[in-house]
């Protein structure tokens, strides 16, 4: 019984996170300005990381955690360099 509730919760979480990913992707494609696109991309990274964690919980597999960590690190570096580019027009001064 409790396992069924947990299974339902994990399925719901996956659907909700995929929806959130799609909404952030819409913002990234729509714009209207460059900073909106970067904000959407950053949100997509975090949502993908959470989706990896939830899928890992559903499979009982700890190794999805490593993927989530890599996505978090990549998302940080990407967003900071993109924001730096927006601010100055070049990444390395």
């Amino acid at each position: 019984m409790s396992a069924d509730i947990l299974r339902f919760a994990l399925a719901y979480a996956q659907i909700a996170l995929i929806l959130a990913l799609a909404l952030a992707c819409w913002r990234m494609l729509r714009g209207p300005r460059a900073q909106d696109r970067v904000l959407g991309l950053d949100t997509m990274y975090i949502n993908a990381m959470l989706l990896f964690l939830v899928i890992g919980m559903g499979n009982g597999n700890v190794f999805f955690f490593e993927g989530a960590l890599v996505i978090a690190v990549l998302g940080f570096v990407t967003t900071v360099s993109a924001a730096k580019f927006l601010m100055r027009g070049e990444v390395i001064e």
């Binding site: 947990l6 979480a13 909404l23 209207p32 909106d36 950053d42 959470l50 978090a72 924001a83 601010m87």
Partner: protein
């Protein structure tokens, strides 16, 4: 999914509640990023996923794997600490970049932003045009997005 049966009932319910609230928070952040009107309002929407969503899902994951393996698993705290430190930095950089772009007369405004806190001491050629009223230049054909 056989491993879900081995969890004690209280833990299963607790994990389910955490995961559902966390995912709902993240979904609300995603809705906000689409629905809100101004850029600076949209800047607040993903913080819901960064703080509430990440925190609750990480707590649930830690609880679940600790009970399954029968020892303390604190891997997930790494992600939590990392997100807690880095997400304010990304938002700060994005906010400053947007502020700078909105003040730049050449890019065209669609947000009303407060003026610069401090006038530049040594105005460089490109900064002078951003603060001083723009010289009579021909308007660009297509606004730079």
């Amino acid at each position: 999914m056989r491993h879900l049966e081995t969890l004690p009932p209280w833990a299963a319910i607790l994990i389910a509640v955490f995961v559902m609230i966390g995912a709902t928070m993240t979904l609300l952040g995603g809705l906000g990023i689409v629905r809100l009107k101004g850029y600076y309002q949209r800047l607040h929407a993903p913080t819901l996923g960064y703080s509430g969503g990440t925190g609750l899902i990480i707590l649930a994951s830690m609880l679940m794997f600790s009970l399954l393996e029968g020892r303390w698993i604190v891997h997930e705290l790494m992600i939590g600490t990392f997100i807690m430190i880095t997400s304010p930095i990304t938002l700060l950089m994005l906010g400053r970049a947007a502020l700078r772009r909105d003040r730049d007369a050449k890019l065209g405004h669609d947000e009303i932003v407060p003026p610069m806190l401090r006038a530049p001491v040594m105005p460089q050629p490109d900064e002078a045009s951003a603060t001083a009223p723009a010289p009579a230049a021909a308007p660009p054909d297509r606004p730079h997005r």
